[in-house]
């Protein structure tokens, strides 16, 4: 459940910050974010800032790699394994 909440927090952030609210409702937790050009290095940094500030998880530099950021599901797993929590759970 906590994991689902993290997924939903990440989806909301990406939708509002990078997808103009995703009016067509296209984003899912398995959308390939790098392959489809949703994340670049600048946007990834903003996402990492959000994860640190809002979900309380500091991602070590060696885990900031393409495979950990391929989709929302893998990012949620990364957040959880680094002690992050959903906003509602804090």
């Amino acid at each position: 459940m906590a994991d689902d909440q993290i997924v939903s927090d990440l989806l909301v952030f990406i939708r509002t910050q990078f997808l103009d609210g995703d009016p067509a409702g296209e984003l899912t937790d398995q959308t390939p974010l790098l392959a489809w050009g949703v994340l670049d290095s600048f946007k990834t940094a903003r996402l990492v800032g959000f994860i640190h500030d809002e979900l309380g998880s500091q991602i070590p530099p060696d885990q900031l790699n393409a495979s950990n950021f391929q989709d929302v599901r893998s990012i949620a797993e990364l957040v959880r394994s680094n002690g992050g929590q959903a906003k509602a759970a804090q």
């Binding site: 509002t16 910050q17 990078f18 997808l19 103009d20 609210g21 995703d22 009016p23 067509a24 296209e26 984003l27 959308t31 790098l34 392959a35 489809w36 050009g37 949703v38 994340l39 670049d40 290095s41 600048f42 990834t44 940094a45 903003r46 990492v48 800032g49 991602i59 530099p61 060696d62 900031l64 790699n65 393409a66 495979s67 950021f69």
Partner: protein
């Protein structure tokens, strides 16, 4: 002299000094040398020979830098790819340069295969030490490989940097050993680099800024600290790194520095005593922020200029008089043994006070674009400059629709063409909104009648054709594009519309 001779010489002179550090540890020059030789042996085994290209698609690490040296030591050329490059685009580049080998991180290697780019692959995690992965910070007891050091002529290819190119057709800037050495030797001399220096490498390895960080450090026997790709725009982490790693020479796009000032608290701490030079290039540095930076540190502030095709071809050291002006610092005078001049629209050489396009001739000018005719004679930059009384130049703007977003070159026509190639799109126009670290690409898309393509669908479509920094951030679906009197798209009107109709998000 070859580019790879720099690290080989440094290993002989300063074997125990640190050469390269980053995620995954640190390598001394002796370790870097051994690892480069070991990787060269593995690559040779995989069939790489003199004159080949080897694509490198990986997160930055000391091992990746060793792999670049290994490729050069075999007389081959490396083609670095940003790890965030969408696989379809990476596969296009790998095919375009006809790479003999793709070298990098396992997941990326598999992704390239999925998209039909299938040269031999070399997983760096397992390749460096035969018999399995080995953390780079362990004591080195590797078998001693023979030194691999193929000679290369000044005009032999050293690396290819892919930049903005027409849709689907990547444009590889081919840089020779002679081009790179002219630039690196100039930079190391201008900086008076010494073994005690600690260079920060902020730019990705596929960008030309990284050439200075890595090879000026090697030339001096100094350290280069690799900023992980994922931290490049994390302002607080960058400020921490600057202090903790006691960086003495920092080089980045101005956007990274302005972000560190605005959101990273850069100026709230005392300037680190080790910091002696701050270099920036790729776009104009807003003068207000440059004044703040100059007031904060006594380090030399150097504005470097040059398209990827020419490496750095002019530079200027920021002085008090520059800070009193209300425009960005000059791009200065010729560097790297080049000759630069401006031609007016009438084709005359521009004198002081006059404007014209900047032309460059000299040793740092590229061999040409990969697979196309060689570059012959002087190179027209497409940049409009004004000649200053001292013979230096002020940058004024572009003569075409090439723009810079956080230092990355974006050809708006390519972004538009990629969007227009989508089956549900009739027409598209793209503009840049905002500037500096806040710049973004906004597209105005006229859909085919009755269709409403989604933002994600259009991004996906673009990502298969363009590098990640050229994908539109925001897309407005519109009934038609505004036109000027002569029928051209009215970009000024689009700019006003973008500002008046902020879509959701920022």
């Amino acid at each position: 002299m070859t580019l790879h001779q720099l690290a080989i010489d440094a290993a002989a002179r300063h074997p125990h000094r640190p050469a390269v550090a980053g995620a995954g540890g640190e390598l001394s020059y002796a370790e870097l040398d051994r690892r480069a030789n070991a990787l060269a042996a593995v690559m040779r085994e995989a069939g790489v020979v003199r004159g080949d290209r080897v694509a490198i698609w990986a997160e930055k690490s000391p091992d990746v830098v060793a792999a670049m040296q290994a490729v050069l030591r075999l007389g081959a050329a490396y083609v670095p790819l940003d790890p965030a490059t969408p696989p379809a685009r990476a596969a296009t580049v790998i095919r375009d340069c006809d790479a003999r080998l793709l070298c990098g991180d396992g997941p990326l290697l598999r992704a390239a295969g999925d998209y039909g780019a299938a040269p031999g692959t070399l997983d760096l995690a397992t390749a460096a030490a035969p018999g399995g992965p080995e953390p780079v910070n362990e004591p080195v007891n590797e078998p001693v490989n023979e030194t691999v050091n193929e000679t290369a002529g000044a005009d032999d290819l050293a690396f290819i940097l892919y930049t903005s190119g027409s849709t689907g057709v990547p444009k590889g800037v081919s840089i020779s050993h002679g081009n790179a050495r002219a630039f690196v030797d100039w930079a190391a001399a201008e900086l008076a680099a010494v073994p005690q220096d600690r260079f920060a490498n902020h730019a990705g390895l596929s960008f030309d800024l990284s050439v200075l960080d890595i090879y000026a450090a090697f030339r001096a026997g100094a350290l280069v600290h690799l900023v992980p790709n994922g931290l490049a725009y994390s302002p607080r982490r960058l400020v921490e790194l600057l202090h903790e790693q006691r960086i003495s020479v920092w080089y980045s796009v101005p956007s990274a520095l302005t972000l560190m000032i605005r959101e990273g608290g850069l100026l709230e701490r005392r300037a680190p005593g080790a910091l002696r030079a701050v270099l920036f290039a790729g776009e104009p540095f807003p003068i207000t922020k440059l004044r703040e930076l100059a007031a904060w540190t006594s380090a030399r502030l150097l504005n470097l200029y040059g398209p990827t095709e020419t490496n750095v071809c002019t530079f200027h050291q920021v002085g008090p008089a520059d800070l009193e002006r209300d425009r960005p610092a000059p791009i200065g005078m010729a560097a790297g043994g080049d000759t630069v001049w401006a031609l007016t629209s009438e084709g005359d050489r521009a004198g002081p006070g006059e404007e014209g396009e900047l032309w460059v001739e000299g040793p740092t000018v590229m061999l040409g674009y990969w697979g196309r005719d060689p570059q012959k004679g002087p190179y027209p930059t497409g940049d409009i400059v004004r000649v200053l009384p001292d013979g230096g130049f002020d940058y004024l703007g572009r003569r075409d629709h090439l723009v810079k977003v956080r230092g990355c070159r974006v050809e708006l026509g390519d972004v538009e063409a990629a969007l227009a190639a989508h089956p549900e799109v009739d027409e598209a126009a793209v503009i840049v909104v905002g500037d500096g670290d806040d710049a973004r690409l906004e597209a105005f898309v006229v859909p085919v009648s009755g269709r409403a393509p989604g933002l994600l669908a259009l991004k996906r479509h673009s990502a298969e054709r363009l590098p990640p920094y050229m994908i539109a951030d925001r897309i407005h679906l519109v009934a038609g594009l505004p036109r000027t009197g002569n029928g051209k798209v009215d970009r000024a009107a689009l700019g006003r519309r973008a500002n008046h109709h902020p879509a959701a998000g920022r």
